[in-house]
């Protein structure tokens, strides 16, 4: 569910299949534009979601509410990612829209959000200037990150050995018992999610043209990653402690790379 497709979504001809990962990163999302919100609670910030820090959030006072990004010029967009949000907890319905010159037009259907997992909405490319999300229903949520852009697509799928990051929970649990063995209590601490993504048989030219800019973007900001968007809903808003360096596989000009991500936990 946190991967949301446009109604009757049709894979663009030149795109890789939806069994391949989609990545939103600082090199492919829109930035530098203007942010406005229908209204903002006094303790929160309308432009909070425009930066990557999950603790600087937007929260409307009244619903329905809109958060709008005006890029200032037309740009091609095929995703909207939302992270560090409470749309599920607050029982909200989400719409993603662009301004067509006369009115706001939806690119995904109004969708009831049921978890606080990061969202990657995927739709056919649209070259537009103004984008927005609309939140309705439920109670006022908080949202930490909203990004629009054109996704990076991995030319290969991920195969065996991958742990879906939603199940890679980093939780510490401690229990207490008395001298006579009575159970006295337990505490836990949820911190993050952690998994790695391995790709093989990547063509050398693709690695040089696409992976290297991604490495640079990864040094700047966290990313959104949906590892198999057509099949599974796992989306992560995560970051890495070391840059994923590709290496030659020794088979023709093919290369492999491993990306370790720490993801923001949400439940």
């Amino acid at each position: 569910m946190p991967v949301i497709f446009q109604t009757s979504y049709s894979l663009p001809v030149d795109d890789y299949p939806l069994t391949h990962a989609r990545i939103a990163h600082a090199g492919n999302w829109l930035s530098g534009g203007t942010v406005t919100a229908s209204d903002t609670n006094a303790d929160y910030f309308a432009d909070g979601p425009a930066n990557s820090m999950t603790y600087e959030k937007w929260k409307p006072d009244t619903l329905p509410a809109t958060w709008e990004y005006d890029h200032g010029s037309a740009a091609e967009v095929d995703y909207c990612c939302i992270g560090a949000h409470t749309l599920g907890t607050n029982g909200n319905t989400l719409q993603i829209q662009y301004w067509n010159g006369t009115s706001w037009s939806g690119v995904i259907p109004a969708t009831a959000i049921t978890t606080d997992q990061p969202i990657m909405a995927i739709f056919g490319p649209q070259t537009r200037t103004e984008w927005r999300i609309q939140v309705s229903g439920g109670t006022a949520p908080t949202i930490g990150v909203i990004r629009f852009g054109k996704a990076m697509q991995m030319p290969q799928a991920i195969y065996g050995g991958h742990t879906p990051i939603d199940m890679a929970r980093q939780t510490t649990m401690r229990s207490n018992m008395s001298a006579s063995g009575e159970f006295l209590g337990r505490t836990r601490q949820r911190t993050s999610l952690a998994s790695s993504y391995d790709w093989q048989h990547l063509k050398a030219n693709w690695v040089r043209s696409t992976w290297r800019p991604f490495q640079i973007a990864l040094e700047q900001d966290p990313i959104f990653l949906a590892w198999r968007p057509g099949t599974f809903g796992e989306v992560v808003y995560g970051w890495t402690g070391e840059n994923p360096t590709p290496s030659n596989m020794g088979i023709r000009d093919l290369m492999s790379v491993s990306l370790s991500l720490t993801g923001r936990g949400y439940d």
């Binding site: 930066n51 603790y55 207490n176 001298a179 009575e182 006295l184 209590g185 505490t187 836990r188 911190t191």
Partner: protein, 577 residues
């Protein structure tokens, strides 16, 4: 069963100006991009700086620490919180601690990171630059907050789903900060509020600046001093010049001097004599027939600089009115003495203890007395964590003889010279010094400037000898957070399989908690308690018409005994002291 998910939030009350740049009363003006940051170090109109505080919240960033009601903006840069608990010094008997016990300390460490300047820069929109690209949160904060000491820091410990106000809060004051290395963020050190009473910070009285303008004779009834203003002295009070005390009824202010009028020379057992130009006229602190609470609060507030709202006045009144009403204190303090020393004296000589309750953010005090109601029971079966219970003897706290010097002759004389006291009360438990018991004497000498009557001296010495003739014991144990309500100053009964009588049967004893610490916040609390079984119990007098004593009646109720002072089951009846 639902497990508990722990939350730790740190709140720093950063000093912050309540004015708006350039708006009256602030007269600052200039380039919009160079406005201040509403801190004293960056202030461009110091005369109109209006001190308030701004709360900054930090967490380690675990899932449960997000969206805490009451803290909308939490920076997840907290890396470590370390605390050492305060420790009560019951009756100031521990020779290895100060009279005020051991101060609670806090160390908080943070990561450093780029920051948007939201919340900390009220004029962020006017700057014309992107704060994320300039400096880091703490490098900027340190420069903007040069005056970051004595800043309240609160630690909130709670569970997921709780609002900030529902969490357990502990409060401290910053005493220092450091930046251990380039690759880390800063660390702040803090202590509890009683640290304000440390020797170099609080004296009573403070040293007076006034000196005699001219030589004065022993009969002069006005005294002129220079180098001081009337504000340096009480409107009417007591002065010390050399070894003479004198009272005055008023002060007149001249062009370059002030004059004390209505002077009565040679008071409080001192002799009127001549003094020379340049001799210091020292302000004195005088208490006359004051209650213990009056003296305590005067020392804390007037001389210690502690805000009145930080003192549990109602709780202290309840306690002192019940157990220390006999004590009326009369003394003159004629030269500067640290407030900590004076409070330490008072605790020992009157029989009470004070401590900083980090949770209530209050200074509390309790009289040394027996237990007046049945304390709650904690057991090794249902409460105490496996492997956490231990007992330690405290032989250095044992007292077999107490020599209590009281009724001071002269407030200007030596406080450690027996000759300066009219009377000594000697209370001893000589049997405990015999070879079949401890085999040696342990003598404690007290020179009291506060106690002036034999009745009070006897009361004090009896309490101390009763309690400390035998070697005191302390125990340490840990409880699960379900029992975290127990805290410093509470008395509990402990039933543990290591605590048995001569026949090996389980015995329970009363212990007073002298130190408590959440060693694993929200999960495990470690306690240190002192065995207070020997304090006995304080039974309450029953209402008229109450039924006669029966076997098994509560020991906390006083029944009338027979002619031999015995109750119906042969035990001793209560005694009215």
């Amino acid at each position: 069963m639902t497990s508990r998910e722990t939350v730790t939030i740190v709140e720093m009350e950063q000093p912050f100006c309540g004015n708006t740049y350039g708006s009256s009363p602030c007269t600052a003006s200039g380039d919009a991009a160079r406005k201040c940051f509403n801190t004293r170090a960056t202030c461009q109109d110091p005369d109109n700086f209006a001190l308030t505080t701004k709360s900054l919240f930090f967490s380690t960033g675990t899932v449960a620490e997000r969206g805490v009601e009451g803290a909308p903006y939490i920076i997840p840069s907290l890396t470590r919180v370390t605390t050492n608990p305060s420790r009560i010094n019951l009756s100031a008997a521990d020779p290895d601690a100060t009279g005020l016990g051991t101060r609670a300390t806090l160390t908080v460490s943070f990561d450093d990171h780029p920051h948007s300047d939201r919340v900390v820069d009220p004029y962020r929109a006017d700057r014309g630059y992107d704060p994320m690209t300039k400096g880091s949160f703490w490098t900027k904060w340190f420069v903007r907050n040069k005056y970051r000491f004595r800043m309240p820091i609160h630690i909130y410990e709670g569970y997921a789903g709780q609002s900030l106000s529902e969490m357990q809060r502990r409060s401290y004051l910053t005493t220092g900060s450091s930046w251990p290395s380039e690759g880390s963020g800063p660390t702040f050190q803090a202590k509890d509020w009683l640290s304000l009473l440390e020797e170099r910070k609080a004296q009573a009285p403070e040293a007076s600046p006034g000196v005699l303008v001219q030589d004065i004779g022993s009969g002069w009834s006005s005294v002129e001093v220079e180098g001081a203003t009337a504000d340096d002295y009480e409107a009417a009070g007591t002065l010390r010049i050399n070894d003479e005390l004198m009272t005055y009824t008023g002060i007149t202010t001249g062009a370059e001097s002030i004059t004390f009028t209505g002077v009565t020379r040679g008071t409080d057992g001192t002799t009127a004599s001549s003094h020379s130009e340049g001799d210091t006229a020292q302000r004195c602190v005088r208490y006359t027939d004051a209650t213990v609470q009056e003296v305590l609060e005067d020392l804390l507030i007037t001389w210690g600089g502690i805000e009145a709202e930080r003192i549990d006045s109602d709780g202290i009144a309840d306690e002192f009115d019940s157990y220390l009403l006999l004590y009326r204190l009369t003394t003159v303090i004629s030269d500067p003495v640290s407030v900590a020393t004076l409070l330490s004296e008072l605790q020992t000589e009157v029989g009470f203890y004070i401590w900083w309750d980090e949770r209530a953010a209050l200074i509390k005090a309790r009289a040394v007395h027996g237990v007046a109601s049945e304390p709650p029971m904690i057991t090794s079966e249902d409460h105490i964590l496996a492997g956490s219970f231990s007992v330690v003897d405290q032989p250095r706290s044992r007292i077999s003889q107490l020599w209590f010097y009281y009724d001071i002759r002269s407030p200007v004389g030596s406080l450690s010279d027996p000759v300066n006291f009219r009377t000594v009360q000697v209370q001893a438990d000589l049997a405990s010094e015999g070879d079949e018991q401890y085999g040696e004497a342990s003598i404690k000498t007290i020179y009291s400037r506060w106690v002036n009557t034999g009745a009070l001296a006897l009361n004090t010495t009896s309490k101390i000898i009763t309690r400390y003739a035998n070697v005191p014991r302390t125990c340490t144990f840990r409880l699960d957070a379900k029992d975290r309500a127990y805290w410093v100053g509470d008395t509990v009964k402990i039933s543990h399989f290591m605590e048995v009588d001569d026949f090996g049967d389980r015995r329970t004893a009363r212990w007073t908690i002298i130190s408590a610490e959440e060693v694993e916040p929200g999960h495990t609390i470690e306690y240190t308690a002192e065995d207070t079984e020997l304090y006995g119990v304080v039974p309450g007098i029953l209402e008229d018409g109450s039924p006669d004593h029966t076997t098994g009646a509560s020991i906390y109720e006083a029944y009338i005994g027979d002619n031999d002072g015995l109750l119906s089951d042969g035990t001793n009846c209560a005694r009215i002291a």
